[in-house]
């Protein structure tokens, strides 16, 4: 089921949560809503589910305008951040809840409900735990039960609010892969909210980056990472630093030196150069190398990361990945070369 969101505006009293958001989600797609807290990503998810009523705008499920359909009849599977499992029901009753509350004409017989719940339990790899209560499960297991419960109602779309937010790092990684597998097997259109860029990039077919109630960019993980459309996306996805530069004569100037060719459509004047740690390297003294001093060195996964300051431009502080073989110490003078970067005009 494809979903189209059109011009959704939503405010809570005086604070605006969504300022005219439109988004097309293809059938069977796994899409991430990524943004910092307060960006409106959860509100957007809840609007799609029908848990929030927008001030204006429309939500389409396929060709059907679902804007005025109450949440009970939207047929969505919603997985809450803290799972919201019914604590007084067993795992099996939790999963079967959606089927058991149907009106008698559409409700499957009790045996059929049980059979389908056990099937789902098997899908989420929790067979044998059907008589447990939520309190007797680990965080990861609860998450799986919540997903099974959402899948039980045969939803048209699966909506997950920070699905791994409350889990520790190791479990998160395992569940990520597992969710991807479930998605590939069941083929549900799936929207999930996260503030974790790694999660979004690794898991999603496409990522929608939100900021202050607006969508900044929608694209595949490669697109948003390699070709960020706005300074915000560049800052938010991956590590980055911004330097004040000048664009003149088709070149980007930093500390009085031309360092890069400027993009063709870029006007002259002040601009921002956004760099990732991989975009800079230590260099031998050369005409295009910039003299710099190492401020500090710290460990970052397999590499070491050095914080450096340009000698001719004291405001220009950024980070650089130092190869393991290279000896770098705080206080050392070392020239650097900027290999690439992304320039946005304006201050």
């Amino acid at each position: 089921m494809d979903i189209r969101v059109r011009n959704i505006v939503k405010d809570y009293g005086r604070t605006a949560a969504l300022e005219g958001v439109s988004l097309d989600i293809a059938s069977g797609e796994l899409i991430a809503l990524l943004g910092p807290s307060g960006s409106g990503k959860t509100t957007l998810l809840r609007v799609i589910a029908g848990l929030e009523i927008p001030n204006s705008g429309q939500v389409f499920f396929g060709d059907e305008d679902a804007s005025f359909t109450p949440v009970q009849h939207r047929k969505v599977g919603f997985v809450f951040q803290h799972y919201a499992l019914f604590r007084h029901m067993t795992v099996l009753d939790n999963i079967g809840f959606g089927l058991s509350v149907r009106d008698s004409a559409r409700r499957p017989p009790a045996g059929e409900i049980r059979r389908r719940c056990l099937e789902l339990l098997d899908l989420v790899q929790l067979s044998g735990l059907e008589d447990r209560y939520p309190a007797q499960l680990s965080g990861g297991q609860r998450q799986r039960v919540a997903l099974a419960r959402a899948l039980a109602v045969e939803p048209r779309v699966l909506l997950l609010d920070e699905p791994f937010g409350a889990l520790d790092a190791k479990v998160r990684k395992d569940l990520r892969r597992w969710l991807r597998e479930i998605h590939d097997r069941t083929g549900h259109t799936t929207v999930f909210v996260t503030h974790d860029q790694d999660e979004a990039l690794e898991l999603a077919d496409r990522v929608a980056v939100l900021n202050k109630g607006r969508i900044e960019q929608v694209g595949t993980p490669d697109e948003v990472y390699d070709r960020p459309g706005t300074p915000f996306v560049f800052r938010f996805i991956g590590e980055s630093h911004a330097l004040a530069v000048k664009v003149a004569g088709g070149k980007v100037w930093l500390a009085g030196r031309p360092i890069l060719l400027s993009p063709e459509d870029m006007g002259e004047g002040p601009a921002q150069l956004h760099l990732r740690p991989q975009d800079v390297e230590f260099a031998a003294y050369a005409p295009d190398a910039l003299p710099a001093r190492i401020i500090s060195v710290r460990r970052s996964g397999p590499t070491r990361r050095a914080e450096i300051r340009l000698s001719d431009e004291q405001d220009a502080v950024f980070e650089i990945d130092a190869p393991a073989a290279l000896s770098v110490r705080p206080g050392e003078e070392r020239p650097v070369r900027i290999l690439r970067g992304r320039v946005f005009s304006g201050d």
Binding site: A49, G77, H82, F86, F97, G98, P134
Partner: protein, 307 residues
């Protein structure tokens, strides 16, 4: 230079620390939050003394006095027609007041805990009003409202409805006094639980009423039971407000607490204490049930607290 040699390169024996003396043995070291034994003993003794003097002793006296002239006199006093009428009336009043407060308490707690609306803090204060107003004043208010010279009294009388010096007045006064118990118990509980469970049920297709019955009510059941017990204890024991509106008509509008007072004023100590012991017995049963629930309820909280 063995001094600068890293610890990992030293032979194991060199890094092994000498057996550290148990520092607790050096001086009798206490945990930071532990008090000196003398202070502890004094505090416990003081608490026990006050409990015995102000709670256990009076309760014991009630039962001793009640059975002072033998079990036969005790039973005789309870078999008396007025005493039996008082017991019946007390149970009737509680049977009406408690369910009314259950409905009101759930509705009020639901509104306050799950929704934002203007005047919410005013509603919370209003619910607390019966706690702060003297029960006698509450009774007087009902007399002024429904009495023969009162605001609504003559109108009601024209239709043959008597409120003051009759059972309806007693019920109204009791409801007023016991109003906060259940709501107060449920508000923090429901606020803590939030609305996500309900949202989950709705998103799974359940209707509003079914969600309430199958999700909200089970989530608050222990708190609700606890509130009902407190409310019931107060409804049966209320004296002040009921005393003002009842008119003390023996066999008709005397509840158990009122009956105790009447008997006592007639120097009928045995009968007074016999009824009083019955009241105290009901209170003890309530207390036992409450403790049982708390024990059970604590289990429930520990097991199902949201993480």
């Amino acid at each position: 230079m063995p001094d600068s040699m890293p610890a990992a390169l030293l032979p194991p024996s060199a890094t092994k620390p000498a057996a550290a003396p148990d520092i607790r043995a050096r001086k009798r070291l206490r945990a930071p939050t532990e008090d000196p034994p003398l202070f502890r003993a004094a505090a416990i003794a003081l608490a026990v003394f006050f409990l015995a003097l102000f709670l256990v002793l009076p309760l014991a006296v009630v039962f001793i006095e009640a059975f002072g002239k033998g079990a036969a006199a005790f039973l005789e006093a309870l078999r008396e027609e007025d005493a039996r009428a008082a017991v019946r009336l007390t149970l009737t009043v509680a049977a009406i007041a408690v369910p009314v407060n259950v409905v009101f308490g759930i509705a009020a707690a639901w509104c306050i805990a799950k929704f934002e609306f203007p005047g919410k803090s005013l509603l919370v204060s209003l619910i607390d009003l019966p706690f702060s107003v003297s029960p006698v004043v509450a009774g007087l208010v009902y007399v002024l409202l429904f009495g023969a010279q009162g605001l609504l009294g003559p109108t009601l009388q024209a239709y043959g409805i008597e409120v003051i010096f009759a059972v309806p007045g007693i019920v109204l006064a009791t409801i007023f006094v016991t109003l906060p118990f259940i709501a107060r118990e449920l508000i923090p509980l429901m606020e803590d639980q939030g609305t996500t469970d309900e949202e989950a049920a709705l998103s799974l297709g359940a209707g509003g009423f079914r969600t309430f019955l199958r999700i909200t009510l089970p989530n608050i059941r222990w708190g609700l039971l606890y509130g009902v017990l407190l409310c019931n204890a107060r409804a049966m024991g209320e004296f002040g407000a009921v005393s003002v509106v009842s008119g003390h008509i023996r066999g008709l509008t005397n509840t158990m607490p009122l009956q105790v007072e009447v008997l006592y004023n007639e120097y009928n100590a045995t009968a007074a204490f016999a009824v009083a012991s019955l009241l105290a017995g009901l209170a003890l049963v309530t207390l036992a049930l409450k403790s049982l629930l708390e024990w059970r309820y604590a289990d429930e909280i520990a097991g199902t607290h949201r993480r």
